[in-house]
Symmetry: C2
Subunit: 479 residues, 2 copies
């Protein structure tokens, strides 16, 4: 048996350029675990057991992997090339389930092990645990986080066509066979309950719900997934789509001794950059020699008014080109999950996915995965609940959660800075919506809000939208 | 470190009078726990390790307590009599929070340790864990079940009056001081989110919501509770209100070697009795010498058309008088919790409360804590979800869950029997609603549905209701 210690760094007061630079840790809790299921985190030794070790002549050795995937083994469901022909033949003889765009995104997610130890779309036992407990208990009694139901819906007709078959073939929207679901289980899709327990509201206007749950079938089909070949999108961005396995290899190749993940679905502004650079600086100060940033934009479904993935990827490139983030210590890759906008429930999924990709630090800010309430004039979630829920979530104990104070535009210093409540009047909050409005109207945001190259990408995108809208309008007028 | 083994008895196939009498166990899972936090369950040894032990000359010794309370220690928040005077004086000087009827029921529940290790109304960290994870993680890393938010709502005016005070006095609806809440924390009461995550719906018409959440204040106040004296109702039923401590003492006094709890909020019919007597028979067959039934009607808030507590208690008495249940091996007591009708979420609370009262077996049937959907013509919950969720719930691993097949009226045998799907046409399902309709209309249910003494109690109750209604109507007409 091994003793592992969970470190909860309260960054609100300590992880801040403007206060004293001494590393203070205001809370930690000890936890005895039945099994050591991940490699020792050097930070823990540094801070808790051997405070001077990393500054001594005996540095911590670089681990081949900084954090073990959930369940101990990274799931990989892509059929080996040698078996592909036979599997395709087999799949062709099975009843078929037609997938939509988001179903394929989930197939991608599951097949590469982002949701490890999940090996397919959820059966009812997994679905119920996810819905009620945001976690799954494994056969050995350990618990992994699993906050979003990862499910596949089918309609009555498809259920009928499956009959008593045990396996089904999965068909992409373009008609191509992409996978097999084996030892299937079909159970009721109670949409109201799924929505209420996942989003904490059933108000109309939730983007994922409107697009992908309300129109979905009344049944869910779970089973073990096999994917016939790696999922590709052929959109010019596939080289950014590194699997958890590839990311882990890359971290090893770079000899990272810490990996800190930053989830985003918006363009990177200097507030984000401040937060990421500050994290790196402090990790170095703590004794890490080579902390690597995983800049990890979400690549699946997003709501209509979010900036599209290709524009965001171009913007992220400019941010690195402009030197706002250091390319030598940053890996930019796409997290292939669709977005639920389910706040405290979803942020757990965002963190859990990054454990599987090998990140042992996760940055969380204000209102993660949140949005405005669809029918009321307020945030859908309490902006502080995300980090609170994340820090208490079952199965995430092995991840170092880095909660951050919000960054805002400091009109006195003319740059993005951590919000200082003692001079609140100096700070300007520029939300994603506000940023998009600036760009859409061709207005300039305050100097220092975003690097010029990155801003230019956004302005061009919104100009192109206006050209498109104008051309659509003229088509309508001339019709 | 000790190895504890969780036994999941699949009673659907084995716990049945009509099939073979051999004890088959179709599933179990082993779990290594960091700490042995409860006494060894003799059943486990009997079935798993030493199948013949209880039949040998070396019987298992009777434990002073069959199952440890959650958190290891039974919470008792009633102020010792010697300190009462001083505490009352102190409370009088504090800002006051006025409680309603259900708030007082929760004060009762918390003060006696039914919700151990909870020591007061939830602060936000506990509330969020309950809402998202149905469980609380303790400082030592162990997890206890906590599926319902046990919270106290206050309005803006009360919040204002509390100001920056750290402690508040709790005032009963009659104006009397009943307790103190210390080191308070006030946080937002997002009713929509609470309702959605607890009930899995926000449809109008949920009894607890309509009565006690919708009209409640927009703030929740958590803190450590002290109760100035034991909560009494003076309704002639207080002698049935045994605390978890008193129940544990009674089980010890009777030298119970197994305690099986039966939660109910309806009159006991012969289907219930079949199930309870069958459980006892099988526990004896397994080698237990003295299994005790805890017949444990819920005594707090119930919806308007449920049979009131006093009538139910009289009905339960008749059932024991008529010999349907054996008074020598049955303890009838009141579970003081209010009812949420929150199905799979609430059944966990019902089971957890009984752990604290010392029961190590919990019987669960079809659709526990369920009701009809308030706006749609269907059950609000899948009738099978309750037992599934219960069997997977975090923190309930130490409890033996006994899921049962549904009992129905067998028109061939003219008695209540376990439903046999091979001759489904012989069975008549008599729901709580149907039973109440029979009694209300003065109709006789089929012979063998309920003992005559018990039935008479119900008929009298509904007759008295009709007299009351008639008198109210004549008052209206003459007005």
């Amino acid at each position: 048996m091994s003793l592992t210690i969970r470190l909860h760094i309260t960054l609100h007061s300590t992880f801040n350029l403007h206060t004293n630079s001494k590393t203070k840790f205001t809370s930690y809790s000890t936890r005895i675990k039945p099994k050591p299921i991940y490699h020792t985190n050097p930070l823990i030794h540094f801070v808790y057991n051997k405070p001077k070790m990393l500054n001594s002549s005996n540095p911590v050795s670089v681990k081949s992997s900084l954090i073990d995937p959930d369940g101990g083994v990274l799931v990989d469901l892509v059929v080996p090339e040698s078996q592909r022909g036979a599997k395709v033949l087999e799949a062709e003889s099975m009843p078929k389930v037609k997938l939509n765009k988001v179903d394929v995104e989930w197939v991608h997610v599951i097949s590469e092990g982002w949701a490890s130890p999940l090996t397919g779309f959820m059966r009812e036992n997994e679905y119920l645990q996810s819905l009620h407990f945001n976690s799954l208990r494994l056969a050995d009694g350990t618990v992994v986080n699993m906050s979003l139901p990862i499910v596949l819906a089918i309609d009555d007709e498809t259920k009928e066509s499956i009959g008593s078959s045990k396996n089904v073939g999965l068909v992409a929207p373009d008609g191509g066979l992409i996978g097999i679901l084996r030892s299937i289980e079909i159970y009721k899709h109670n949409k109201e309950e799924r929505i209420a327990r996942t989003w904490g509201t059933t108000a109309p206007g939730l983007p994922y719900v409107e697009e992908y749950i309300t129109p979905a079938g009344n049944w869910l089909i779970g089973g073990d997934l096999e994917v016939l070949k790696p999922i590709k999108y052929n959109d010019g961005l596939d080289h950014y789509r590194l699997s958890p396995k590839q990311l882990r290899q890359e971290f090893d190749r770079r000899q990272a001794d810490a990996v800190f993940a930053f989830q985003l679905r918006n363009p990177v502004h200097n507030g984000h950059a401040l937060l990421m650079n500050d994290t790196r600086r402090r990790l170095l100060e703590m004794g890490y020699k080579n902390p690597i940033l995983l800049l990890h934009p979400l690549g699946g479904f997003t709501k209509a008014d979010d900036v599209p993935l290709d524009v965001r990827m171009e913007q992220h490139s400019k941010v690195l080109e402009d030197g706002v983030l250091d390319p030598n210590t940053t890996i930019v890759a796409i997290f292939p999950s669709p977005m639920h906008y389910a706040g405290p429930t979803e942020v757990q999924w965002h963190a859990k996915g990054r454990i599987n990709a090998g990140a042992n630090f996760y940055i969380v800010g204000r209102d993660p995965a949140g949005m405005g309430h669809p029918t009321e004039k307020r945030d859908l979630y309490d902006p502080d609940h995300g980090k609170k829920v994340l820090s208490m979530a079952p199965g995430l104990e092995k991840l170092n959660i880095l909660p951050f104070r919000v960054a805002a535009y400091d009109t006195a210093a003319k740059k993005m800075a951590f919000f200082d409540p003692s001079r609140a009047q100096d700070f300007l909050f520029i939300s994603g919506t506000k940023m998009r409005t600036y760009a859409r109207n061709g207005d300039h945001p305050p100097d220092g809000f975003m690097c010029p190259g990155g801003w230019e990408v956004l302005v061009k995108y919104y100009e192109s939208l206006q050209v498109e809208e104008a051309s659509q309008q003229s088509t309508i007028l001339s019709a």
